[in-house]
């Protein structure tokens, strides 16, 4: 390439080439990575196609009961009608909104609280058993109470998701502050740093990977809580839809709900992964990972 002229300073020249990233070598490697990824996607689609095909064939051949299991064609038909009536979008939107809002509130407050515990060893020692006990409770057990207090609308689902995610976020952030390299703190002290400076420049950034990995757990927890809450009492949402249609033995509609939940879960998870690479630009290897959904 034209930009490999000798400038005298080799380190500058090589950094320049690396920044452009357009060498033959890099392009070949990128092409190979794309090819490998397409292969993976192909096989994933092939597996889905095969399962659906066998399922449909078994129903048509009478080997399994369409009433108890549904069939891909009936599910597809149901999906089209639910999408065109707008009902599916409305339910999915209600669920996603409650999940994301509850997740955001619970994760943010929990992470912040867990980080702040770094300032006081005494306070953390006092509340430690309570946090552990709360963490042990399956949060869905709190759903009846929360619905009584906050009603059967979206608000109670948000609270449920926030409560479930709060504890996990708090625990991971708190544990992260205990993984700190003491030498890094000493380095800050050697500059004469205040406790607040140590907190903002060492404790927070080095806890971030743990906090973010809790987000991955939390987005799933939030979805489970919201759907569980919708089962118990609500006027819309995917959980509500699945529950109602299940009681009516409308299996194709239940399947549409389940498949939509899968897609919602995958999209939310991908969103959190994107957030991760945005917030942790220094951690290597993340960007080269195949886009997994």
């Amino acid at each position: 390439m034209a930009n490999t002229t000798t400038t005298g300073n080799t380190s500058v020249a090589s950094a320049h080439v690396a920044a452009k990233g357009k060498s033959e070598f890099v392009r070949k490697r990128q092409a190979a990575a794309v090819k490998a990824w397409l292969m993976v996607v192909f096989w994933r689609l092939a597996i889905i196609g095969a399962v659906l095909g066998i399922w449909e064939a078994l129903v048509r051949g009478g080997a399994i009961n369409a009433f108890l299991l549904g069939s891909p064609s009936a599910i597809a038909k149901m999906a089209v009608s639910m999408i065109s009536s707008g009902q599916l979008m409305e339910d999915a939107y209600a669920t996603v909104r409650a999940t994301v809002t509850g997740f955001g509130i619970g994760s943010a407050i929990g992470s912040l609280a867990g980080l702040l515990l770094w300032f006081s060893r005494t306070v953390s020692r006092i509340i430690d058993p309570f946090v552990v006990a709360l963490n042990g409770v399956p949060k869905i057990a709190l759903a009846p109470m929360i619905i009584i207090w906050f009603g059967s609308g979206i608000f109670s689902k948000i609270v449920l998701a926030a409560v479930s995610t709060f504890i996990v976020a708090l625990l991971s952030a708190y544990q992260a502050t205990h993984q700190i390299d003491d030498s890094q703190v000493n380095l800050m002290k050697s500059f004469g740093a205040s406790k607040m400076q140590i907190f903002s420049k060492i404790i927070v950034p080095s806890s971030l990977p743990w906090i973010i990995s809790a987000f991955r757990i939390n987005i799933g927890l939030a979805l489970v809580s919201v759907v569980g809450g919708e089962f118990i009492s609500s006027d819309k949402g995917l959980g509500h839809m699945i529950f109602v249609e299940g009681n009516l033995f409308n299996l194709p509609a239940v399947w549409v709900g389940v498949f939509t939940l899968m897609i919602v879960a995958a999209v939310l998870y991908a969103g959190v992964s994107m957030l991760e690479s945005r917030l942790l630009p220094w951690s290597e290897g993340k960007s080269s990972k195949s886009p997994s959904v």
């Binding site: 300073n9 950094a15 400076q197």
Partner: protein, 262 residues
């Protein structure tokens, strides 16, 4: 002539309590007086407690007994009075090289533009400006060590503690940086203390050398060297006729120490 002492360590002892609850004596009555503008080295067997001495001088550890004054002031419970380049480079992985270099300036409240300019000028001086935006994980061990050195120098401390600053560097770079450090200390009238395993390095840069015993350590012997001050260069100091004699003296002092059982 009246000289003021930059660092004065008097009868300092330090014990740690190990995991089994036993008390391990590391420092056994250390007394050192380091004058302003002096450059001294500390050599001693591995694990004898050299870094512990630095941690105490920097105020990161409290001595079990004894007292330390830095610039005439008692440093009990205070930090930030020396520039300390630790044994590990401790570059923060989430910060770019430039941001790592600016860390101390940030702590000291220097404005954004000013600290950026200072940091960039140092990076340029050490030919690392092309890596200003890179993350530490992409640098070699030697480059990381140079960045850690720069991070210590940019805050312009009067007293600089260097704990094996050149251990990851190749021989040539090491020689160049020894001279570089020497001229910075001399031109800006700073005081330097260097821990090193390299006896030749100690002889070529120091005014004085403290040879430490094995753990629990004390100052076994002090050598007046002054070759670098005489020649104005560590590299030239290496060719002095006395160099070999100093080396053999210090080597045997350390050798006996390491060979002794018990």
């Amino acid at each position: 002539m009246l000289t003021t002492s930059a660092i004065s360590v008097s009868n300092v002892t330090k014990s740690f309590v190990n995991a089994e609850g036993q008390e391990i004596a590391v420092l056994n009555d250390i007394t050192m007086d380091i004058q302003e503008r002096e450059f001294v080295s500390i050599v001693g067997p591995s694990g004898c407690g050299k870094s512990t001495i630095f941690n105490i001088i920097a105020g990161l550890l409290q001595p079990t007994s004894g007292s330390i004054t830095v610039g005439g002031a008692d440093i009990k419970q205070s930090t930030g009075h020396v520039g300390y380049m630790m044994q590990r480079d401790l570059l923060l992985p989430w910060r770019s090289i430039l941001d790592n270099v600016m860390l101390g300036l940030e702590v000291k409240g220097i404005g954004k533009k000013e600290r950026r300019d200072i940091a960039m000028s140092y990076l340029e001086r050490y030919h690392l400006e092309a890596f200003a935006g890179a993350y530490p994980s992409t640098l070699s061990g030697g480059m990381r060590q140079r960045v850690a050195l720069i991070r210590t120098l940019v805050t312009q401390p009067d007293i600089i503690l260097l704990d094996e600053p050149f251990s990851a560097l190749d021989y040539q770079t090491r020689l160049v940086l020894e001279d570089e450090i020497l001229s910075i200390l001399r031109d800006e009238g700073k005081t330097g203390v260097l821990i090193t395993h390299d006896i030749e390095e100690a002889i070529s840069v120091s005014d004085r050398i403290f040879v430490m015993s094995k753990r629990p350590t004390y100052v076994k012997k002090t050598y007046d060297i002054g070759l670098s001050a005489h020649y104005g260069s560590a590299m030239k100091a290496r060719s002095d006729v006395r160099f070999k004699g100093f080396f053999e003296d210090i080597w045997s002092e350390l050798d006996i120490q390491m060979g002794r059982v018990g």
